[in-house]
Symmetry: C2
Subunit: 495 residues, 2 copies
């Protein structure tokens, strides 16, 4: 048996190299691959992922981790080993037969979802979803939990987070945010029609590159491309790529998706390169990852301050389209709130009602208090309650998201956690950097980025999300920061 920390590091980095290779093949598939390449590509990715899993779960590796944990004293190395031990346990508690069965059921689920989408008919997806839910309950049992099976599932995305915490959080969303939004909607509406003029593709593209550069995204360690769905992917801190879409009829599509993905990418570019492939070289959690994209998208990218610096450039680029829109009107327009049946079309406040609904429903499905057959009706009735929206079809209702079809249960809440962490982090940054608002008003993002690098990026997975939050802000996640942020901003938007 190998004995040293260097052996552990080498093995884990090799596993990571395989996962990165699979990621590069996936990026290539979205961005470059000719259509006929799909069949063999799927096989190639499966081989890489299979080998990565096989090598990671090698029993000798588990033994090595346990051995090193007894002798290692360096705190960073020890933390890597602790995280790896936990990863190893999660990866090995699902036996091969279960993993293969899961892979099949997920594949069926995905194809049935596609078929159901095509026919706009949930009943086509229903039996597959029922199978998926049964499977996820079994998975939760295998992974283990103390209080609620849902805890085992959210732990895969937000390690250590519990449904009891989510219950408390969403209770606040229901009381405070629902009431706040109701009040806003009683006020005169805001005009955002300027977003829907014709914005030529090339100019939108060059503006999105400018804004990424301005944020501090390093194009020597990354690039932006076009893909059907925007995403960020990292092959090392020195090669972190973003993708976006361009819609010439909607200025918002590219601009805020670039900023959002840019926020994810800054995090990945800022992870410590010397910890490549090891837990401390990885992002803390999905919620913390999302906090970075949303902080840039909303706290910066939809702020009056930042557009004081950027709007003159934008207006120079699109003089016709923005002729009648001054900075005030622009700021209000990009912050317009309006209920919408589709999550990804939602504004930043209503968004959390969409997540709240999914959380309540998926938790109900897992604990058995909601039957799959009753899902559409439960979905539609919650949309009526929380958003006052009438759902007209399954496609604009419970078939809209791919997540459940992919077997991802416990993922949705990380989107809301991200927004709430973002508000709390940003409030702290303002305290720590006294002239932060001045720098942003001048379009200088460096002080903020440096603060994020030191306080968040540099730690990798050293802390769990809640621990990181406490270390950075002095307290665990507190919904108050999001409400304070929302109130301060929307009083400017809805007078």
């Amino acid at each position: 048996m190998r004995k040293s920390y260097a052996d552990y590091k080498k093995h884990l980095q090799q596993v990571h190299d395989l996962s990165v290779a699979a990621a590069i093949l996936s990026w290539d598939k979205e961005v470059n691959m000719p259509i006929n390449g799909a069949g063999f590509r799927a096989q190639q990715v499966a081989t890489l992922n299979g080998l990565a899993h096989e090598q990671f779960t090698d029993p000798d590796f588990g033994t090595l981790i346990n051995h090193l944990l007894m002798v290692e004293s360096d705190p960073q190395d020890k933390r890597n080993l602790e995280r790896s031990k936990s990863d190893f346990q999660k990866a090995t508690c699902l036996d091969r037969a279960f993993v293969e069965r899961k892979s099949k059921i997920v594949s069926i689920g995905y194809h049935k979802w596609l078929a159901a989408r095509k026919e706009n008919d949930f009943s086509i997806f229903q039996p597959a979803l029922a199978q998926l839910i049964t499977l996820k309950r079994e998975e939760a049992d295998k992974l283990g939990y103390a209080d609620h099976p849902y805890d085992a599932l959210i732990d895969q995305f937000e390690p250590g987070y519990k449904s009891a915490q989510l219950d408390a959080l969403f209770e606040q969303v229901k009381t405070e945010l629902v009431a706040f939004v109701r009040d806003l909607r009683a006020k005169p509406t805001v005009d955002d029609s300027f977003l829907y003029h014709f914005y030529p593709k090339d100019k939108q593209w060059s503006f999105s590159l400018d804004i990424l550069k301005n944020m501090g995204y390093d194009f020597n360690s990354g690039r932006q491309d076009i893909s059907p769905h925007p995403f960020t992917i990292s092959f090392s801190p020195n090669d972190v790529r973003v993708t976006t879409q361009v819609n010439e009829q909607n200025f918002a599509t590219t601009c805020w998706s670039s900023i959002h993905e840019g926020g994810h990418a800054l995090y990945e570019q800022g992870l410590p390169a010397k910890q490549y492939g090891l837990p401390l070289g990885q992002a803390c959690s999905l919620g913390i990852h999302e906090s970075q994209s949303r902080l840039w998208e909303n706290q910066i990218g939809r702020s009056y301050l930042y557009w004081q610096a950027m709007y003159p450039n934008l207006k120079k680029l699109f003089p016709e389209q923005l002729r009648q829109t001054d900075l005030d009107a622009f700021f209000k327009g990009i912050n317009k709130i309006e209920p919408h049946p589709i999550r990804i079309e939602s504004d930043e406040l209503h968004y959390h009602f969409h997540i709240l609904i999914r959380y309540e429903l998926e938790k109900g499905l897992i604990e058995g208090s909601l039957e799959v057959a009753d899902l559409p009706q439960a979905w539609n009735s919650k949309y009526k309650d929380y958003l006052d929206v009438d759902i007209k079809s399954d496609n604009e209702g419970c078939l809209q998201d791919i997540h459940w079809a992919h077997g991802s249960i416990g993922y949705f809440p990380t989107y809301s956690l991200g927004s709430f962490y973002a508000a709390q982090f940003f409030a702290q940054a303002k305290k720590d950097i006294p002239n932060l608002e001045d720098t942003l008003r001048q379009g200088d993002c460096k002080p903020l980025l440096d603060w994020l690098r030191i306080n968040i990026f540099a730690h990798g997975r050293y802390y769990l999300a809640d621990e990181l939050c406490e270390k950075v802000t002095g307290e665990r996640l507190n919904f108050r920061y999001f409400m304070d942020y929302a109130k301060a901003k929307y009083v400017q938007v809805y007078l």
Copy 2:
């Protein structure tokens, strides 16, 4: 131990998936990777190649091949096993210590070559090259040979081919081609100045796509991109990519490099997909691969016939640049011959003198009849003899190619073999397809491509190169076909 052919196939395809992943990472490096990505990318590729080698050389796999060879009766499956057995023997006869030493010496060689290029001074590269030659002799001894150590080295690129055959072939080059070219050079020169007008990038690009389409390259199973050095790379028969360069001051750069790479790519797209990852799904040899690129580049791409169809389009695209150039003048210009000290700048006839020189020199180095210290002088004197060219510096002399610095000895001859096979195959195609010239004159490449698919592509590695040549043309490689082709063409160019 696993027992079935299906196990063999699965294992070999998995190894192939790893190699393909490494290839995709390399393609991405050339085409897309941001500059800072280089360090981790090198490590990722090394992991993939290392794992592929480790899995391929697994002793159990060798045992499985030997076992299956005794029981397999299907001729195709049996041939796969035979080729794999030979590949396995070659891969395993070099022990790990040797492979690691080789990797280090090659790495030093490459960097010393770069440094020597920078200073235009062979003496900087000389000690490293001496080490490389010693290493290659050792490699030849380990690989084994009957007559000449060089045979073991060429076998890595052109399986089964011997230096005795090359001696005979290049003897003919020396007597027949040298004399023929000398006669041509006594005739009035040809004007190719029209190639050096300004040709805008976008139009060159779109023309190169048109010509690839016209050849039969399938863009649903491939794509063309820009890279510093043109190359073709295959990730499966359904995803075969080419790259090119664009030089706005030289029309030839893009056009014939696209045709050349397109020829390689048609071969890869035409390999049997059901043999993916297995020997019968792979190209026969480097020489046969090069025969495909050169057949398209020269027999088609520099023929009067084909430009009868394509030239009107080209002239429509570049009316100003080609205003004073009719088809006859175009045909002559693109076939101008002129000695040049640099191999890759050479015309299609002088080219083989460059190869002949490299062959004589590398064979001399390996057998010990030439000392590394004497290389520049030997190089320059041969260029004077065969090309009547005075070499003015090491950079335009023996430092011009990267091959030796990469440890590739025995590779150069495959370029000439490719041209000679191309002439012989094309002569046969003309016999087998009575109206071939008519179809080409109409710009219809399909009959030729279909003939290549059936006669060459479909076989993969079923035959060795010389066997394939005999099967297709009724005889082994015969230099006469190349001379006949050259004579028939150049009598039209040099009146």
